[in-house]
Symmetry: C2
Subunit: 298 residues, 2 copies
């Protein structure tokens, strides 16, 4: 019988939560992080997120029959990158959000300067945690760092954020909208699958299949976000419903209409799942993850 | 005869300026950087700075009789880290500076959101440029990345910035002031020497000597900055003189008085130069760099 996402996800989530805590609070480190900065970083990583990206790394490494310990550093790194980007996104000069998942955003809880610096530090820590990993070879670590920088940098996630800012001032075309989400979310999801493939020493065929799965999953994640903004429950989501409409933002729903966006979401799910064919039975958890991404209510 | 800093520095400066340009403008890269972001990154790295940190990397690699090409990626990386930190430092929520070296700061020239994201991207690019270098071994690249992250992260440069913010609200003790500058400037200078030692395959003895030189040089750089803020020429410096006093900031001059700060500067220079003894004749350029750091007028 197939296990559902809610049955196997908590163990991975506990694992990543523990590992992230360990990185921030290393009492034996030669130098200490100043208390106000450590507190802000701790707040920034303990934000009750779904941890989809690290889960994706873990699930792929397990699907490739490799010890999860080899995935810990990469799982932490991708979550640190994701969390730092949210903190900077929430700043007054960017999206100016006071709440994230029902809690005050970092610059509200602390102050803007601390939010800027804590997020900067989280980006640094992402590279530090991979570089200092004891289990991976230097070659594997360099491949993963290269791939992470490419996915999260000015040609990847940050490119997506710049296009996103533009989307608040004018209507994007359908191609521009998809390009924005491929950069803003797809690249980091695809990184998770690529890094998992490196750690699990996957064949070129499997690596390509996983990367296709990652892009489809990332895009599905965004389409679902856009749909939830229109039909979601504000209390469950921890943020006001309809904020995209209010900001007059181009979304999959505003571009295609709600029904077409729902159909597109279903197509992306099918594409993600069919990409996994070369993995055979190992793909059960990844299929469940795709099901979760499209059916989630927040 | 000993060559002076102004005789050999321009060649290194041209080299780093060219290499930085190449990183930002790679027309053959698979993905492109969106134009507004590329423009902002270009502005952020073309700020007319002295390029002390990359010069330090190059000079050490040359002192160790190693091809400068092996130092290019590291030299670019440390300058990208330095430039990103200046851009975030200048933001309204931080130091709120409109001018740097006589030019509008990045958030004035573009806007705050672009400044936040361009600097984020520059941090990413620092790790990318090292990871994608073709000349260094994977082991050397991992050592350099690890050292860079440690020097520039929440236990290094960013720790120094957090302490610096605190210094604007209360008087720091002499120990706290020195600790702030060791983190804020010394760690990145020491990184330059450590990375140079890795690239040049220096012995443990030489590596330690170089690191001591780096810390002394970094601290001397800060003491000189504090002195220039009191007795410097605003036009030459490109920023208003006396801004530390106006902000009631703890500096070496406010803590010890001008004469004692000048004496301390001389001591640090002597410490830096005497640290270089194990290098023998190879240290000529590094001695001239120390002379320049303490005698510069901006």
């Amino acid at each position: 019988m197939t296990k559902s996402f809610s049955q196997f996800a908590p163990a991975y989530k506990d694992r990543i939560d523990n590992r992230l805590q360990t990185i921030v609070n290393q009492p034996n480190h030669q130098k200490i992080i100043p208390a106000p900065l450590a507190g802000a970083i701790d707040y920034g990583i303990s934000n009750g997120g779904k941890r989809i990206r690290p889960l994706l790394v873990y699930m792929i490494v397990r699907a490739l029959h490799t010890d999860l310990a080899h995935a810990d550093a990469t799982a932490c790194a991708v979550e640190l990158i994701h969390c730092y980007s949210l903190i900077h996104d929430d700043l007054p000069a960017m999206d100016d959000d006071n709440l994230r998942r029902g809690k005050p955003t970092l610059h509200i809880q602390f102050d803007e300067a601390t939010a800027i610096l804590a997020a900067d530090a989280m980006q640094t820590m992402a590279y530090e945690v991979i570089a200092s990993d004891d289990l991976l070879t230097a070659e594997a670590k360099i491949s993963i760092i290269s791939s992470l920088a490419s996915a999260s940098g000015p040609r990847g996630m940050i490119a997506g954020q710049i296009i996103d800012m533009d989307a608040e001032t004018r209507q994007l075309s359908a191609t521009e909208l998809e390009n924005m989400h491929r950069r803003k979310t797809g690249d980091l999801f695809a990184f998770c699958t690529e890094a998992g493939a490196i750690i699990g020493a996957a064949s070129a065929e499997i690596t390509l299949a996983l990367k296709q799965y990652g892009y489809a999953l990332g895009l599905a994640f965004q389409v679902k976000d856009d749909i939830l903004d229109v039909i979601g429950n504000a209390e469950v989501m921890g943020k006001p419903q309809g904020s995209d409409i209010e900001q007059d933002k181009t979304t999959f729903v505003s571009s295609y209409g709600l029904n077409a966006a729902i159909a597109q979401l279903e197509e992306l799910k099918e594409l993600a799942i069919s990409s996994l064919a070369p993995l055979g039975e190992g793909s059960a958890e990844l299929i469940a993850l795709a099901e979760f991404v499209v059916s989630r209510d927040h």
